[in-house]
C-alpha cells in the first residue's frame, strides 16, 4: 500500500527531474501546475508519462486535461495505484 504522502513526494521528485529549473521551488498539493509551476503542455506530458512508468499505472488521456493542481495528479495516481 503506497500512502498519499509517498505519492506526493515521488510526484514532486519527478517534476524536479523533468523541469530542473523548478528545483528549490516549493510544490504543494494546491500548486496549479501550469501557472504556479510553469510547466507547459509538453512538459506536463513528460511528467505524466514518467509518473505512469514510476507507479505502473495508466491515466486515460482524456483525464489529463482535468489535472490542474498537483493534488489532482496525486488523486489520479492514488485512485489507480492501490487497486
Amino acid at each position: 500500500m503506497i500512502t498519499r504522502e509517498e505519492i506526493l513526494n515521488r510526484t514532486i521528485e519527478v517534476i524536479y527531474e523533468c523541469a530542473p529549473e523548478l528545483e528549490g521551488k516549493e510544490l504543494k498539493e494546491d500548486t496549479v501546475i501550469n501557472t504556479d509551476a510553469a510547466i507547459d503542455s509538453m512538459g506536463f506530458t513528460l511528467v505524466i508519462c514518467r509518473l505512469e512508468a514510476n507507479f505502473d499505472v495508466q491515466i486515460p488521456n482524456r483525464q489529463w486535461q482535468k489535472l490542474q493542481t498537483l493534488g489532482d495528479v496525486v488523486d489520479a495516481i492514488e485512485k489507480r495505484v492501490n487497486k
Binding site: S41, M42, N61, R62
Partner: protein
Amino acid sequence: MRFRSFDHLLSHQAREIPGLPALIYGRDRQICTYGDLYREVLKRADQWRGSGKTCLGVLCDGSFDCVCTIFAANLAGLQVVLLDENVPDEQLPGLIVYTDIDALWGDEELARELAEHLARNGGLPPMQGGLGSGRILFFTSGTTEAAKAVVLTDGSLCASAFNGGAKLPLTREDRLLCLLPLGHVFGFVCGLLWGLSCGAAVALGRGMRHYLEDFAHFSPTAVSLVPTLLGFLLQKNALNPELKLVLVGAGDCPPALLAAAAGRGLRISFGYGLTETSSGVAISVQGDPFAMEICPDDTITLAEDGEILIQAPTCMMQGYYKKPADTGAVLRDGILHTGDLGTFDAEGRLHITGRKKEILVLPDGTKLFLPEYEAAIAKALGTPELALILRSGRPVLVLSGPARDKAEILKSLTPVTAQRPRGQQITDIVFLNEPLPRTATGKLRRWALQNRLEEQP
C-alpha cells in the same frame, strides 16, 4: 499525382507499388504494403456498407486500425467525423448529437451507450447530404462554445495533399512519421495523406507517451510538427540522425525555434493553412522559412486592410456543418476571408504579419477564442481594461494600471481558468501603466499591444 478520392489514391498505389510499405506501425514495426492496405480497406468497407450506419465518429488514436477505419467508412459512403481522442467526456455527447453520428469507433463503452440511446429513440432523422457524400468532418480547434465542424471531402483532402507534395515532394524511399492527431486536419493531411500520395512509407506514431522514442524507433526522414512539439523534441534531443525534413505548421512559430532546428542540419519548411482549406495553401520551400510560396491550386490576395483572402476551388470546405450563417460570414463567392493578416514580398511569397480576428493561435495548434475568455476574466477581476496576448507562445494577461500582486490575481482567476485546456492557462501578468491601445471605435488594437510589449524585455 493528383488523386480525386481516397479510393482513387489507395487503388492507384495498390496497382502501381503494391509491394512497397504504406504503413509501419506498432512496437514491432509491422509493415502493411500498399497492396495489403487497399485489400484491408476494401474488406472493412464492405462491413460498413452492410451496417446500416450513415455517420461514423472516429476517436482518432492514430493506430493502424484507426487509419483503416477512416478510409473504409469513407469508401463505404459514410460521413466520417474525426474527433480528437482526448476530447473530454462531457463534451463528447454534444459533438455526437451535433454531427449526426450514429456509430462510434475508438471507445467501446461509449459506442454501446450510443447504440442503445439511438435504439431507444428510434434512430436519427435523415442526415444532411445522405450516404456517398464523401464528407469528412474536422473540428476547428478551440473552446466548446466555438467548436464548429468543418465539412471537407476525401477529394478536398487529396487535393490538399497534392498541393503539399507539389511544393515539397517526398520520394518512395522516404519515411514520414505521423505524430500529430489525425483529428486535426494538419495531422491528417501532412502526417498521413502527404506520404501516401507520394508513395512514401508512413510510420504511425504510437501516441504522446512515445513522442520521445518514436524517432529512434521508426527512423523517419520527414515529419510534420506543431511548434510546441518541435521545441520539446529539440530540447530533449529526441530527433533521429536520418531525419532530413521538418514541416512546421498549425501555429505561430518563434523564429528562434526554426533557427535551432535548421542549426541541426534539418530542412525546415513552414506551412500556412486552415482547416477550412483542407490544410496548407502556402509553404516555404527554400531560404527564409517564413516566406511561403502559394500552392498550385490556390490563389491568395490581400484585402485593403491586409487580410488574407483565399480561393482554393479544389481544397475549400463545403461550409461549417449546420451553421450556414457562420459559413456565410467567412466564405463569400468562393473566397475565404481568413482573418489573418499578411504581405507579399518582391518574389510574391506570402508572409503572415498578424491576426485580424479575435483569436490567438497557440503553438500547439489550438485556438483561443478571446472575447468569451476576456469577458470571464473581466468579470472575475471587475475591470474591462485587460487583454490577452501571447508571449513565448503562452497566454499572458495584460492589465492596464499600476503593478499589483500577480500571485493574488492569478489565484483569483483560478475559477475562470481551471476548466480550460492546459495551453490556455494564463502564465503571467504584465502591467501597463497607460490605457490599452484602442481604435477610434474603442476596439482593442491587439497586435499593436503585442508589438509594444514584445519590445519590452
